[in-house]
C-alpha cells in the first residue's frame, strides 16, 4: 500500500465492528515503548542521530519477515502535509505527538493498518497493535512477537532494576500501555459513569477520551488503560485491565437492559430521533455528530436500527473528523463548511445502506 492509500482510504482493520464483545468494546490497543542503548532519546538527539535510529529500525523490518502482518510501509513525517498527518492521527495510526512535535519522526505501517511502529516519537520505538473488539491477549502476543524480532537485531536500553528504559518515567519498566475503547451510552444515561470512573482511578487504571491524553470523551466513548508500568508483569497488567473492563462491560449491559425494560419508549424515541436527524440534517457540528452516532450505535446493538452496520458507524466516526473532511475536500475548510460537509457525508453513507 502506498502512503496516499493510507491517507485516502478511510478503512482500518480496527473499524470492522467485529470481535469479542464488539457491542461495547470498539477496539483494543497495545503500545510497547522501547529505546536503543547508546543513543540519546529523541528529545535530545541531533538530526543525524535521529536519522540513524530510523535507519536501524527500518533495516530490521526490511531484513526480517515480521510474519503475516507484513509488508510494512515506511512513512517519514517530514514528507507529509500537516493535513495528511492529521488524517493518520484521526485513524489512530500515529500519535498527535509524532505528527506535531517529533523531529525525524517516521512510522512503519502494516497493510491492514493494525500494526504501526512509530520511530522517534517520545521514545525511539513505539510498537502499536490495534485490533477490533476486546482482544487484549491477541494484541499483546502480536506486539511482543515484533518486540522479540527487534531485540534480535538492535541493542535495547534495559536495566535489571528498572526494566525497559523510557524517555518519560511514567512508561519505565514494561513500557506497555494497554487500552480498550468502550462505548458506554447506558452508563452515561443512567448517570452511573462518574461513580465507575472514580473507582477505576483507585485500581491503577485511567480513563481518557477518544484521542488519548487530554482529549474529551465524545460520543460516550471512553478509553480505559493501565497507568502503572513498573513493578507489575505484563500478564498482571493485562489481566487487571481485562477484569476491570469485563466488569464495566457487564455493568453497561445491565444498564442497557434496565433502560429497555423501564423506559423503552423514551429510549427508542431518542435513538430514532438521532437517526432521523443524521439522515436529514444539512449541517452538524462534530460534538453533535458524535452524540447522534453514539445513539445510532446503541440502536444497532439493541436491534432497534437494523439496516446500518457497526462498521459504517466506526467509519463515520473517523470520516467526520476535521482532518478527514478537509482531506476529502482537497482544501482547507472553515468550521461552517466542515459542518455542512459532515452532514452531507453522514446522510450519504447512511442512505447508501438503506437503498
Amino acid at each position: 500500500m502506498s502512503v496516499q492509500q493510507f491517507i485516502q482510504n478511510p478503512w482500518s482493520n480496527w473499524m470492522k465492528g467485529q470481535g469479542p464483545d464488539a457491542d461495547i468494546v470498539i477496539s483494543t490497543r497495545i503500545r510497547i515503548a522501547r529505546n536503543l542503548r547508546h543513543q540519546p532519546f529523541p528529545l535530545l538527539a541531533t538530526d543525524s542521530q535521529a536519522e540513524e535510529v530510523v535507519n536501524q529500525v527500518a533495516k530490521v523490518v526490511r531484513t526480517e519477515s515480521l510474519g503475516k502482518e507484513g509488508p510494512f510501509e515506511l512513512i517519514m513525517m517530514d514528507r507529509l502535509q500537516p493535513l495528511e498527518k492529521r488524517v493518520l492521527v484521526e485513524k489512530h495510526l500515529i500519535s498527535p505527538n509524532l505528527a506535531e512535535e517529533s523531529r525525524k519522526g517516521a512510522v512503519l505501517l502494516s497493510g491492514d493498518e493494525s500494526i504501526s511502529i512509530m520511530i522517534n516519537e517520545e521514545d525511539h520505538i513505539r510498537i502499536q497493535v490495534l485490533l477490533p473488539g476486546f482482544q487484549l491477549t491477541e494484541a499483546w502476543d502480536i506486539g511482543s512477537r515484533i518486540d522479540d524480532i527487534f531485540e534480535k537485531h538492535v541493542n535495547y536500553a534495559f536495566d535489571e532494576k528498572r526494566g525497559y528504559l523510557t524517555s518519560c518515567p511514567t512508561n519505565v519498566g514494561t513500557g506497555i500501555r494497554a487500552s480498550v475503547m468502550l462505548h458506554l451510552p447506558a452508563l452515561v444515561m443512567t448517570q452511573q459513569i462518574n461513580r465507575i470512573l472514580q473507582a477505576i482511578n483507585q485500581v491503577g487504571l485511567v480513563v481518557r477520551g477518544l484521542y488519548g491524553e487530554g482529549s474529551e470523551a465524545l460520543g460516550n466513548l471512553f478509553q480505559l488503560s493501565n497507568q502503572v508500568t513498573l513493578g507489575m508483569s505484563e500478564t498482571d497488567i493485562l489481566s487487571n485491565l481485562y477484569s476491570v473492563a469485563k466488569q464495566i462491560i457487564e455493568q453497561e449491559r445491565v444498564a442497557r437492559r434496565y433502560l429497555q425494560e423501564n423506559s423503552a419508549l423514551a429510549l427508542e424515541d431518542r435513538i430514532c430521533r438521532s437517526y432521523g436527524i443524521l439522515l436529514h440534517a444539512r449541517t452538524v457540528e462534530s460534538k453533535e455528530a458524535a452524540q447522534r452516532l453514539s445513539d445510532v450505535r446503541l440502536g444497532i446493538d439493541l436491534g432497534i436500527i437494523q439496516n446500518v452496520s457497526p462498521f459504517t458507524i466506526n467509519e463515520l466516526l473517523v470520516l467526520t473528523q476535521p482532518g478527514f473532511l478537509q482531506q476529502h475536500a482537497g482544501q482547507k475548510l472553515t468550521p461552517e463548511q466542515r459542518d455542512e460537509r459532515r452532514a452531507r457525508l453522514i446522510r450519504e453513507r447512511l442512505r447508501a445502506k438503506i437503498a
Binding site: 542503548r37 535495547y156 524517555s167 518515567p169 519505565v172 514494561t174 491503577g204 461552517e336
Partner: protein, 177 residues
C-alpha cells in the same frame, strides 16, 4: 450569536473564565480562538510532564540545592548525566530523561519518584533475550529452585531430580557466560 471578536463568524466556543472570583464569558469563533491563543494557554501548557515536574520539584533535595540554604549541597557539583549532560534540575523541570544512562547517574534518587508514579521501584516483567544479560537465567533459576523445594516437600523425587538437572545445566551456562 456571532463571534465577539470578529463579529462575522458564528461563535462556536463559549468559555467562562473565573479570575479572583470575577466571571468573564467569551463567545468566539474557532478562527479567532486560534489567533487569540492566550485564551487557551492555560490548558495547552498543562501536560503529564508538568505534573511530573511538580512532583519532582517537591523533592526536598532539589529544593535545598536550589535555595542554597545548605552550603554542603551548593558546594557539590550539580547531579548530571555524564553521557548526555542532562542535569537533575533540568530533568526535574522537563520530567523527561535525556538518555538511558540518566537512570544510572540519577540512581536511587529516582526511587521516590517511581514509588509515587507506580507504587514500585523494581521491574518484574519481560526480560529481553539478548540485552537482558544474565537476568533471564537468574529469574528462571529462582523459579526452578522454588519448584524443586515444592517437589521435595511433596516427595515427588523423580520430578525433583529432573528439576535439579535443569538447575545444574543453567548454573553451568551462567558460569560459562
Amino acid at each position: 450569536m456571532n463571534c465577539e471578536d470578529c463579529g462575522k463568524r458564528p461563535a462556536t466556543l463559549h468559555l467562562t473564565k473565573i479570575v479572583n472570583g470575577e466571571k468573564t464569558e467569551y463567545h468566539i469563533c474557532e478562527h479567532c480562538a486560534q489567533e487569540k491563543g492566550h485564551v487557551f494557554a492555560d490548558f495547552h501548557n498543562f501536560s503529564i510532564n508538568n505534573i511530573l515536574s511538580g512532583l519532582l520539584n517537591f523533592d526536598p533535595l532539589v529544593k535545598n540545592s536550589m535555595s542554597g540554604l545548605h552550603n554542603q549541597t551548593t558546594a557539590q557539583k550539580p547531579m548530571r548525566c555524564e553521557t548526555c549532560g542532562l542535569t537533575y534540575a533540568q530533568f526535574s523541570k522537563s520530567g523527561r530523561f535525556g538518555c538511558s544512562d540518566c537512570y544510572r547517574y540519577f540512581g536511587d534518587r529516582l526511587d521516590p519518584l517511581f514509588r509515587r508514579i507506580h507504587g514500585n521501584t523494581q521491574h518484574i516483567g519481560k526480560v529481553p533475550e539478548r540485552t537482558g544479560g544474565q537476568l533471564k537465567i537468574r529469574r528462571e533459576l529462582e523459579q526452578l529452585k522454588t519448584l524443586l523445594q515444592q517437589y521435595v516437600m511433596t516427595e515427588e523425587f523423580e520430578k525433583a531430580a529432573e528439576i535439579r538437572d535443569r538447575i545444574r545445566a543453567l548454573e553451568k551456562k551462567m558460569e560459562q557466560a
